[in-house]
Assembly symmetry: C2
Amino acid sequence: MKRSLGAKRLVYPLPVLMVGSYGEDGRPDVCNVGWGCVSVSEPPCVQIALRPIRQTLANIRHTGAFTVGIPSACHEVQADYFGCVSAKQEPDKIGKAGMHAVPSECVNAPIIEEFKLTLECKVVCMHEYGSHVQITGEIVNVLADEDVVGEDGIVNIEKLDPIVVDPSADTYHRIGERIGKIFHDGLALK
Amino acid sequence: MKRSLGAKRLVYPLPVLMVGSYGEDGRPDVCNVGWGCVSVSEPPCVQIALRPIRQTLANIRHTGAFTVGIPSACHEVQADYFGCVSAKQEPDKIGKAGMHAVPSECVNAPIIEEFKLTLECKVVCMHEYGSHVQITGEIVNVLADEDVVGEDGIVNIEKLDPIVVDPSADTYHRIGERIGKIFHDGLALK
């Protein structure tokens, strides 16, 4: 039997994206964004959605750039903190979380050094619908900690240990065991 | 030390969305979409991105509606198959995968009965950038199997057992252990 749950945002999984930007005064900021995904393959783009009130949106409109840090399970408290507190309330959010920002060499946005993987993005378009502004950024480079990348250039997911969100229970989770291979396992049904 | 990996689509995690639609002839179709996320809170919307060549895009342009099924780990082979084969090659994809389509009661799109959670969506806007068309659908209802929902209306993630993708190794994974609570754990740093 099926049950109707109403109009809910139950997409599994939701990501935990750490969006880095510079304020007009040049101060680095980072916020926690759950509405985001790849939106274009060529050129490679990531889309994030922000409420108009968010400081990060004002920052991105000003600089035309942002970064997307992928937090690891060991950063769960900091990642949640970056969603609980605005730079308007706490200008030194990053320092308060014990983290460090350095300038990206590719775009006008900060890299949070502690995140093991960061996408460096320049804004290519924005749209607005309902409560959110959808911002598309072209990924011009990905910066990774040496120790999460193999010699083959493939990221080791166990070493990255990224976080996902359960949108119904509002909980953070690790990514678990590997169960199969893309564009491979389904061929058995062909 | 950090290493530049170039312009890659390394968003962690990627979802595995089973997008259901009707062809012009009324035949139900389903395809595997990895580029998708929540894009608006009010009204609740999901965005998916499709290449113009995909049959699902032609279908959605025709009907103005689609569903998003969330596959469970037990559906990994079928989910991958729905990404390997087009309805142009195999008109009875759904039957061939041992699955069954019934009409949504809310939108003009099919529900795949075997998926334990399905979002029922009507198209509200479309944009195109680069290789993909970004389609925003308002989620008008979510349909869930009774046995994955508690009395409190919260979905049980262990029973749903959804799949995520590792975009670097191109592998499917389960969602793993719970590590924290949203808008809660970060308050410790305040």
